[in-house]
Symmetry: C2
Subunit: 377 residues, 2 copies
């Protein structure tokens, strides 16, 4: 592997060369409602009336994020944090196009939403499904229609798999839909057979499953760590890899990728460098304990490398920079890592300076090819 230098990755927008191929797929671009009320026209009358009485009742988990509602400080321009200008800066199509898509010459942006991550931990699955349906229709009309670079992972509530499958069947064949979007927060790990009808529908439509932090510790999700509720927001950020680990292990041990051999998952914004240790321990333990899960027919790491993708943001920064390439090699980043910006949040990673100069092949896999294969772009 090439040595690590200090030269920034040259995104196409920096080189001034004409575009020749897909070079940047950003797998985590948040598009948001400016206000929840924008959803009302997409909801049936019964929910419009209830929401008028009680609000949307989207469960939160009670931790303060960073100032300015977690939007990039450089975008908020010193405006009133709750004012229209500040929020628009991070949430409007125009600011996204100007400050991100055009600036970096992003080829595809996967719109991952955010407002509906906690729908699945609302007790009432009919209402949760109605919210997701409304958000999906709103996304198609107000975002997808505006820019051919947009793809979307559709909002889904898992609390009633039958309703989830109905929504997938309704719009998954829309050319912009490349996956479903789930939160890390869940009552059961994602390998559990409770979810299998949803995975079957995703495989049938050829779309992926993207999982992003959200809903942990909220609503019906239960404590966000295996040892109860942490106290501070900082702790919940470190709980993200823990939840991703639990989901990945569950998917492999329950044999999900034997049942659905074309299904792929992306775990986004959950750190990266827990992956090698998890693969190594899981492989070793499987050799000793595989009589308990005979449907797991191959080394667990093989399923991981074939079926699970990991978002690059926030990229963990080694204390010794030369450890980065070893970590990337150990996690098979050429197969598993996908570039994510996390637009427009304060801890976002731009495509030019996040990584040091990488070997050409690895660079292409992380910034474009892994995501193109994952989302059939």
């Amino acid at each position: 592997m090439a040595a690590i230098g200090t030269r920034p990755v040259s995104a196409p927008g920096w080189t001034g060369q004409p575009r020749t191929d897909v070079a940047i797929v950003d797998c985590d671009v948040h598009h948001s409602l400016t206000k929840n009320e924008d959803l009302l026209p997409y909801l049936s009358r019964v929910y419009r009336e209830r929401v008028a009485d009680y609000g949307f009742l989207l469960p939160g988990s009670g931790y303060f994020n960073a100032p300015k509602r977690a939007v990039r400080p450089d975008l908020s321009d010193g405006c009133d944090v709750n004012g229209d200008a500040a929020r628009k800066r991070g949430t409007s199509y125009e600011s996204l196009r100007e400050v991100h898509l055009d600036l970096w010459n992003v080829d595809y942006a996967i719109l991952t939403g955010g407002n509906m991550y906690s729908a699945g931990v609302i007790p009432d699955p009919e209402y949760a499904s109605a919210l997701c349906r409304a958000f999906n229709d709103w996304t198609i009309e107000n975002w997808i229609a505006k820019d051919s670079r947009f793809k979307m992972t559709m909002a889904i509530a898992t609390s009633d798999p039958r309703l989830a499958v109905q929504e997938i069947d309704r719009i998954a064949d829309h050319p912009a839909v490349v996956g479903i979007q789930l939160p890390t927060g869940a009552r059961l790990p994602y390998g559990n057979r409770f979810y299998h009808p949803i995975w079957e529908a995703c495989e049938r439509h050829g779309i992926a499953v993207s999982v992003h932090p959200g809903a942990e510790g909220a609503g019906m999700a239960g404590p966000p760590t295996g040892v109860g509720y942490p106290t501070y927001y900082l702790e919940t950020r470190l709980a993200r890899p823990q939840m991703a680990m639990a989901h990945c292990v569950s998917l492999i041990c329950e044999g999900v990728f034997e049942r659905f051999p074309r299904l792929k998952f992306a775990f986004v914004e959950v750190d990266q460098f827990w992956v090698p240790g998890l693969m190594w321990h899981l492989d070793a333990d499987w050799k000793s304990l595989r009589d308990q899960t005979p449907w797991v027919k191959r080394l667990p790491s093989e399923y991981f490398r074939e079926h699970i993708r990991i978002g690059s943001q926030p990229l963990e920064e080694p204390e010794q920079p030369e450890h980065l390439l070893t970590m990337l090699e150990a996690m098979h980043a050429d197969e598993t890592l996908i570039y994510c910006s996390d637009w427009p949040h304060w801890d976002w990673d731009d495509p030019a300076t996040t990584f040091p100069r990488l070997p050409e092949h690895l660079h292409r896999r992380i910034f474009a090819d892994n995501a193109r294969e994952l989302f059939n772009l």
Copy 2:
């Protein structure tokens, strides 16, 4: 660092050289009741009578471990798994001395018990404390008295910190007591202020806190992952690092090591190579979010390196052997790693073949010096 070779580490017992210094401290040796009833003489009449009616009611978590009740197959000699001979082979002092302490020339063995890990998730704290007290007295009379190489981490139930402190005050100054023993399974992460009186007592007596898998998903502990209950035992093994991560992050973010600057924790049998990524992410996030936890005054990784130790067993085996030294370097193993055998369980690690040949300094830190400092040996 020296290259990795194939020559096994030479434990003192293998070289035939005279002993010159403490060379092996084994920080995880399980001593067990042959049958729970051995505890009865150490319990008060009220509990003896209840136990006669209902049994010990120690909560389990409902996952099958490996065959032969998880004891090393090479020790069970083909005996009936539940027979006296088989169990004695793994649980008697004589077999421990013969097959482990004398064979490998172990200088100190920290007796970590096991039977009482789930005491703290019993609903009734008075009964839980009585069980721990009985187990501690039984340990001192039946194990500590037999061999000067034995030290112990005393059993403690956390469900009533006041009772825990009473038990610590009762026996922590016994020369064999070097710490308290807690399970990873917990209702609240160990940084929570609920536990601080216990940490105060440990610091006051100069003893450490050892945390070992147990009680996860059992009794009052709640789900053992941040996304609910996994299905298979194999998954629960991979949940161990997740729980350790949550505890470590909690200890640092709650400022435990600012309040108790001489307190040290050991997390044992929870894997190892999640440590670098956790340190890196926590340091980066702390720089951005430290206004939310102003009592965390230094880089989180500094608290980790000073106050938290990680057991070596089961050692994660890199797919590419040359990655091992990088991982050890990245986790500051010369400060953080302590040798553990996990006697007498099937996945144990002996002192001679677990590691490749390590640099002399690193070898001494892992096998002896880190543990000597941790436990004041």
